[in-house]
């Protein structure tokens, strides 16, 4: 579903947010990676909460966020 908007997910254990547009390059997940493409046994890098206990959210960012990594 390439036309589907990119989504954001929030960890219900600690509040860590995952944004499909940004991915988690520092954890080997490139930008644009859909939530469904992340392995089911993946867990929150901050608190270890399993993927199944994240909630999809439609919340915008605060001013100046996200602070994107600089292009190489």
């Amino acid at each position: 579903m390439p036309d589907e908007p990119l989504k954001r997910w929030i960890c219900l254990g600690c509040g860590f947010s995952y944004d499909e547009a940004i991915g988690l390059p520092e954890h080997g997940i490139p930008p644009g990676t859909r939530w469904t493409e992340i392995p089911e046994d993946w867990s929150c890098p901050d608190c270890g909460t399993p993927k199944s206990r994240f909630e999809m959210v439609e919340i915008g960012y605060a001013a100046g966020q996200p602070s994107l990594p600089l292009a190489a």
Binding site: R8, I10, C11, L12, G13, C14, G15, F16, S17, D46, C47, T49, S52, R53, F54, E55, V57, I59, G60, Y61, A62, Q65, P66
Partner: protein
């Protein structure tokens, strides 16, 4: 036509979290230390029951037992975490530089925003009892913030006092939400008016008894009401203590 759910005290999720074994890195303290947590809502599928209400995700009625009992220093993002101390002494530490001691009536709101760590600690022999409330924020990765307040039981007697939200005297939080407290020591009728019928109100009886929107609630019973212009609450002669959490749905 208003809608509602009623949650009786014993219907809540219950956990006893030990400071030994698999949860030792999570709960700190003397080997006898443990946290008990009665949860009105649940962390998604962590427990059975309601997944939340409006922007509320956690409403924990918690006791830290034995000196040193704590949630060890750990990281958060985004959630607005608040604690309302009911008895005992809570030591709260966070990476914004706050190191505070809270007693009965004290409360705080910690908006974790773009990231912050905190520790919740009971250093005393007396158990520390508090309500922990987590809400989703209205924006992601906000600058972290922390503020403390105090509910004055005498000045607040027989009226609904705003604690968190946009009303005068309350601590602002980055969400369309309000927390208020009512302590009553006489038979009375209090009318809670939510900002709009699109807001829900979660009324939790800390102690005593109250008829809320037609339902008699005892200690630790609660009721969520929405699509209502007003919520009529009737108290009796015995002292009654209630928290109201209003949230956009």
């Amino acid at each position: 036509m208003s809608q509602s759910f009623t949650l009786r005290a014993a219907e809540r999720g219950h956990e006893k979290i030990l400071s030994t074994g698999p949860t030792a890195s999570y709960v700190g303290g003397h080997p006898d230390a443990f946290v008990t947590r009665w949860s009105s809502f649940n962390f998604h599928d962590y427990q059975s029951g309601r997944p939340g209400f409006g922007k509320i995700r956690v409403f924990g009625d918690e006791t830290f037992n034995h000196p040193g009992c704590s949630y060890s220093m750990h990281r958060h993002h985004n959630f607005i975490i608040s604690a309302f101390v009911l008895s005992g002494t809570l030591t709260h530490l966070n990476t914004l530089g706050d190191n505070d001691e809270l007693k009965a009536g004290d409360f705080y709101a910690f908006s974790a925003g773009s990231g912050g760590l905190h520790e919740e600690l009971n250093l005393k022999a007396e158990p520390m009892k508090a309500i922990y409330l987590w809400m989703l924020p209205n924006q992601l990765l906000l600058p972290p913030s922390f503020q403390m307040g105090h509910f004055d039981r005498v000045a607040g007697m027989n009226r609904i006092t705003p604690l968190l939200g946009d009303q005068a005297g309350a601590i602002p939080v980055p969400q369309d939400a309000r927390v208020s407290r009512l302590v009553s020591d006489e038979p009375n009728t209090f009318v809670y008016r939510p900002r709009s019928p699109a807001h829900g109100v979660y009324a939790f009886v800390l102690e005593g008894e109250m008829r809320c929107d037609g339902t008699l609630l005892g200690s630790r019973d609660s009721k969520g009401v929405w699509a209502a212009d007003e919520i009529v609450c009737k108290t009796g002669a015995a002292e009654t203590d209630v928290l109201f959490v209003e949230t956009v749905l």
